[in-house]
Symmetry: C2
Subunit: 400 residues, 2 copies
């Protein structure tokens, strides 16, 4: 008799985006004349840049010729892409060897699959509010979850817990989704020291690193001394280069990072992850890896920077509108997300309904990201400039 993994039954159904879709449908059918502006889902809108397109066209051609056709590639990615990423990190003083870099189809896959190599007996610590994947993937493996309160009092940048908490695995996301807050070097150093001291592993989600404008802020946890013995970093081209539908990310597992086994020896997590990936994954399409490598070329970097600037101008526009209206918020300076306190004590969903009905603008209720998200709301800067401008003009007309 085939028994299921019963932990799946402990998962809450995710009603967040389906409820949003339902409410939008109701609104548009009763208000067919109103032009809806979507600032909810964190998906990009600008097309792929020319350098990426050219590289992918060329790779498609290669796949059509016997002499240049590529069959199975290395599961962990081609060296041409490892080397491009290696240089990208070196430009900020982080030295990686190519076999510390694993190419994948995106940060979400790796963040989900990394749980494979750890014992289910580990206690995980996850900030609240948070990207729901961290929570759900650990519920699936039946792990004990401790939440780390992230709120206005700590500027949505929670610091290490006191000694009575004892997480084995710690999730951090900076720039943060959904709050847009960013750890500085001193704060991250405190986390690195804490993890090294307690033999915990930090799973560091850097998917939004490219939006950091302040050069003093760390874009990688490996800019912090000591991180290579306590952290794994996940990154993605989804937001960096508009790859949400093109699918490529990378995960850095330092060779000096060890996990504990039930015998006496410590085990290289790099070796375990390589074993996991070579056994359960067959690599990212050659065509996509060629496109990804083009992102890191001088031409590609210049082109994606224009898009990042475009989105960050939207973020600044949203931020300045919030200031003008006297609404408390974080994010927007070094991240594409603005996390605002719903005015007049409104709850997240009430503010959602209010914005939808008053000005036909859609955002994401903070309550969808966890307990501490109640009373907050996320707006994203990934729309078009025109739509963002119009949404903010409408926002200014609200009597708040």
């Amino acid at each position: 008799m085939a028994f299921i993994n019963d932990h799946y039954l402990e998962l809450k159904d995710s009603y967040l985006f389906s409820t949003i879709a339902k409410k939008i449908n109701e609104f548009t059918s009763t208000h067919p004349d109103k032009k809806l502006i979507r600032m909810g889902i964190g998906d990009v809108t600008l097309p792929l840049v020319p350098a990426v397109l050219a590289a992918m066209h060329e790779a498609v051609e290669e796949m059509g010729q016997k002499e240049t056709f590529k069959g199975y590639g290395p599961e962990q990615g081609y060296d041409f892409l490892h080397e491009a990423i290696q240089k990208y990190y070196a430009s900020r003083g982080v030295n990686l060897s190519t076999d510390e870099i694993f190419i994948s189809d995106g940060a979400k896959s790796d963040i989900g699959n990394i749980t494979d190599i750890f014992s289910n007996a580990n206690v995980v610590m996850i900030p609240d509010p948070v990207y729901p994947v961290y929570v759900d993937t650990n519920i699936m493996s039946g792990r004990q979850i401790e939440f780390l309160d992230s709120h206005a009092k700590n500027n949505f940048l929670p610091m290490p817990p006191s000694q009575d908490a004892s997480p084995d695995i710690i999730y951090l996301c900076s720039p943060n989704n959904p709050t847009g807050s960013v750890y500085n070097k001193e704060q991250l150093k405190a986390w690195v020291d804490y993890a090294n001291h307690t033999d915990a592993v930090i799973l560091f989600d850097a998917a939004y690193e490219c939006f950091i404008q302040d050069p003093s802020l760390p874009r990688s946890i490996f800019e912090i001394e000591g991180a290579k013995t306590c952290a794994i970093e996940f990154c993605s081209l989804s937001k960096t280069a508009g790859f949400t539908g093109t699918r490529c990310g990378y995960t850095i597992v330092p060779k000096n990072l060890l996990g504990i086994n039930l015998e006496t020896d410590e085990t290289s997590l790099n070796k375990l992850w390589l074993r996991r990936q070579t056994t359960k994954f067959n690599g990212v399409p050659y065509i996509i890896q060629k496109g990804a490598a083009a992102v890191f070329s001088p031409e590609g970097q210049a082109q994606i920077q224009k898009n990042i600037t475009y989105y960050m101008e939207n973020a600044q526009l949203i931020a300045s509108t919030m200031k003008e209206k006297g609404i408390e918020f974080v994010g927007g300076d070094n991240s594409p997300y603005i996390w605002l306190k719903c005015p007049n004590g409104m709850k997240s969903w009430d503010f959602f309904d209010y914005l939808l009905n008053e000005i036909a603008v859609v955002g994401t209720p903070g309550a969808g990201f966890g307990h501490n998200g109640e009373g907050y709301f996320r707006l994203t800067a990934f729309g078009s400039k025109e739509a963002t401008l119009e949404a903010m003009e409408r926002f200014k007309t609200l009597s708040l």
Copy 2:
């Protein structure tokens, strides 16, 4: 303290292909004049067909225009590809709904990841010899494995065990890797009846279905009555359309397939797999899905059929050479693999060394696929016609 998944330490290091590589290096450095012919690894050599290339070029263009750019798609794949696969199955009388079809980056990923949705307390039954991924992924989750003997006496087509064995999950692969043997409808019906009777789930690997030439043989387990309540099918375009480096596969999870949970109710495995994929996966690149859909167009089908015929002519050439030399073998009629008994009682690795040293031909020692593979050897039909011809000419010169 971050503890690892200790089951990883129970995995045997896979020395098969690394040992082969080492022996080849030694040989080529000591015999630089000899032209090596590789018939070992099961990777394709013909380039992608024109219909696929055209579709991917077009999709790259779409990704470069704001109006046609695609961001996040459905994690389980686009409906245009579901519908193409639905029609492909309907052409052999198998009716699927589109939400029973999950698109992925390949059968290996899905076969590995499917273990997520099942309890680790399940006993799995795996044929021996076998594709090593079935074994390794279950060792990783700490499951009890029972091996199902596959040998010459049962024509490498083992049938359901007696009542005292009680597998909860059963792996079947037909056409088989590595033996090339194929179950007929009566044999598969016996497996389906057994699984339905014992509430077991069959994980059916159909990655080589396109090589079946005999129209009476089943290409999908869903051609068998009753399979929709006991089986999940994995398939891939890797061998069908040369996608080993392009990465696209699909998994069929029928809606009537149930798993047992520790409470009283049965649970839809389709719903669990959807939850797994939406949580830990973000879909296959749009560009690749467009290429995959082109495989199923009339033009694409005609073009890939030419390639399949090309490989099957190689298989026939190998098979006829084995016959001529009086070597026992299975496979080659409906599969790209020839599984031969090493002549003169040679062991797998001895025969490997013999072929390498005598005629500079590389194959795969059967012992690498499990205990019952000892004394056997796998040759693949995926090389070029010229190389296969030359290899067989050399083979004929052997005094066996």
